[in-house]
């Protein structure tokens, strides 16, 4: 039996350590054999669109060797970018040699037996939330679109309020492609459009740390009252029976 790895991704593990803790707690409640390994290398997703194929392949080899060295058999990642990249570029470069089974946290959680294990209950007033479809999840080789909705709607009294641009047609937060580092004006405009579409939704939930970063900045600048919440954080609050909006 190989190892079951929780792959946190470079952004979350560096900047959002609380969320990482929450994610680990959720994953371990379902299956306590999943572990985090120190010094996990970045998957490379952030620069794939500017990196020549040969360099990409070298990096994929390096990360894959690291997986092999640690006897990794299964991965649950909490990052949208890692999921997209690990499920597309790694099989592309390594073909049959890439044997790791990669899942995103949302897929992992949405399995009926796993949702049951989490036993998500909410006793407050009826709560409508918006879910933002991150590009990396909806465009992935195996798209993740229904899973987050299934999870959220499975929670008693919680309901997904669909925004006008949703699923395959969601508006990009403006942080993709490293544009956020260079031209923040993209997320200035597009994030506001997303906020405008929330209407009756009381919170904006995202499963992508890059989207979260973009949303959070603009929300603070715009003094937005409705909270932006990472998927893992929302679920943990529900599990702990505390107000998920605070």
């Amino acid at each position: 039996m190989g190892m079951k790895l929780i792959y946190l991704g470079c952004l979350s593990s560096t900047k959002y350590t609380d969320t990482c803790e929450n994610a680990i707690q959720i994953i371990n409640k379902i299956d306590d054999e999943y572990k985090v390994l120190e010094e996990a290398p970045c998957c490379g997703a952030l620069a794939y669109h500017i990196t020549p194929d040969t360099t990409l392949e070298e990096h994929v080899n390096l990360v894959n060797d690291w997986f092999k060295k640690n006897n990794v058999e299964k991965i649950v990642t909490i990052c949208a970018g890692c999921y997209n990249y690990l499920t597309y570029y790694y099989p592309k470069y390594k073909a049959d040699e890439f044997e790791v089974v990669v899942e995103h946290l949302l897929q992992f959680m949405a399995k009926p037996e796993n949702i049951d294990k989490l036993d998500l209950k909410y006793d407050g007033k009826k709560l409508r939330v918006c879910y933002h479809d991150a590009c990396h999840l909806r465009n992935a080789d195996i798209p993740i679109i229904d899973e987050p909705r299934e999870i959220l709607n499975s929670i008693n009294k919680v309901e997904v309020f669909e925004m006008e641009n949703n699923k395959l047609n969601s508006i990009c937060c403006g942080a993709g492609g490293g544009v956020y580092a260079t031209f923040k004006e993209n997320s200035d405009y597009n994030t506001k459009s997303i906020f405008d579409q929330m209407r009756r939704g009381k919170a904006l939930i995202t499963a992508c740390p890059f989207c979260y970063t973009a949303f959070k900045r603009v929300a603070e600048e715009e003094n937005m009252k409705k909270p932006i919440i990472k998927f893992e954080d929302f679920i943990i609050k529900i599990m702990n029976g505390v107000d998920p909006l605070k």
């Binding site: 470079c10 669109h49 993709g176």
Partner: protein
Amino acid sequence: MSEEGAKLYDEVKEKVETLKDEKSIHRKFADIWRLACIGKYRSFDLRYLYDDTSREYVEKYKPAMIEAKEKFLENIEDYVDQCLNVMEKTNKFKVYYAKTNEEAQEAFMKELGDNKVIYKSKSLEAKDAGIIDALKENNIEIKETDLGDVLCQLLEYESPSFTLGPGIQFTEEEIVAKIKERYGVELEPKAEKIVKYYRENYRPELLNDVKVSLTSANAISAHDGSIVLIENEGNISVLTRATDKHIVVAGISKIVPDEFDALMVAKLQERITNVDAGYISIISSPSSTSDIQGTRVFGMYGAKEVVVILVDDWRTEAAKENLFYKDMLKCISCKSCDFVCTASRAFGNIYASKYGIGGINIVRDYIHNGIEEAVKDGLFLCTGCENCTNWCPAGVDLAEMIKNLKKIATEKGLCPPTLKKYQEKIIEDKNPFK
């Protein structure tokens, strides 16, 4: 990053800065463009009086559209031959096959002869082939006929605009002020009054004075050589009929296997843009009559001559060599990629090339003018969200093409420094955020 790269980067930054100024050209365009995108997106789910929404309609015909385009690409040379043959022999068109843009420009100037004025519809393909630039160099008076383009000419607007509503950013007040200044006519600042003015003053000229007209083609049937053109104003109807010589300039990529595929292109465009294509012209020969003793005489009421200049330039090579921008050959210019583009919504006509707004025109600029131009056009404003690819009714993977351009730019040292730093940190430190 090279010095050239830093310069291009600063140029884009400077343009983006102007978005903060409400009166700047870019901001004025972005304001109306953003509304247009939202409106277009909403209209995909409207039913009007049809049974289906535009979204459903497009989804229904998408597989057939992709199949037609792929069939063409696989047998590009055969289809071009077939098309040229039938156009010349059956349709009695005068046909040029221009291997390069230069050949197309030469053919066009030859056909123009001594004429010093050309009346044109949008004709993006002529722009692509460098014919518009060639006309300007030769001091030919270019008369636009689409009202939006007429207004752009009137207001001397040179920035990239939206093909389907090129003058949409001008207010009624701006337009009537300019009309007064130019023609000494005072008009009430109302759309109806401005349209009435052009109908009364420009329409007679179009009906009586056009000797040579230029249009592009929305699609061309390889099977019977028919040229399909769609429009809502009636300017193309006039230009293709009330003229002596109608010149069609189109890339060979406008060819589809048969006339029903061509009509499908037209109908898809209509539903995607949600502008009623009031008129669809299917032109299969110059105007002619055989009413006198069965003798066929050309030039009854419509065009005496139809000249078709089919431009290859980069196209066959792209298809045969499987170049990364091969998908450009599938594009039907419906603009759906623009409506849903994150960069386009945020940056309007800063994310654009001289061929028009949006990523597809940045790829076009790269093909003709190289990577530096593409970077200057705002290549790195794209977030790679892939909405363009998801929406394309013809299977164009625009996101992949843009990604390739970014790689080419980075290799040439033209990638923005912040982004380049991420890449270096990933490769060296295995974590870009540490």
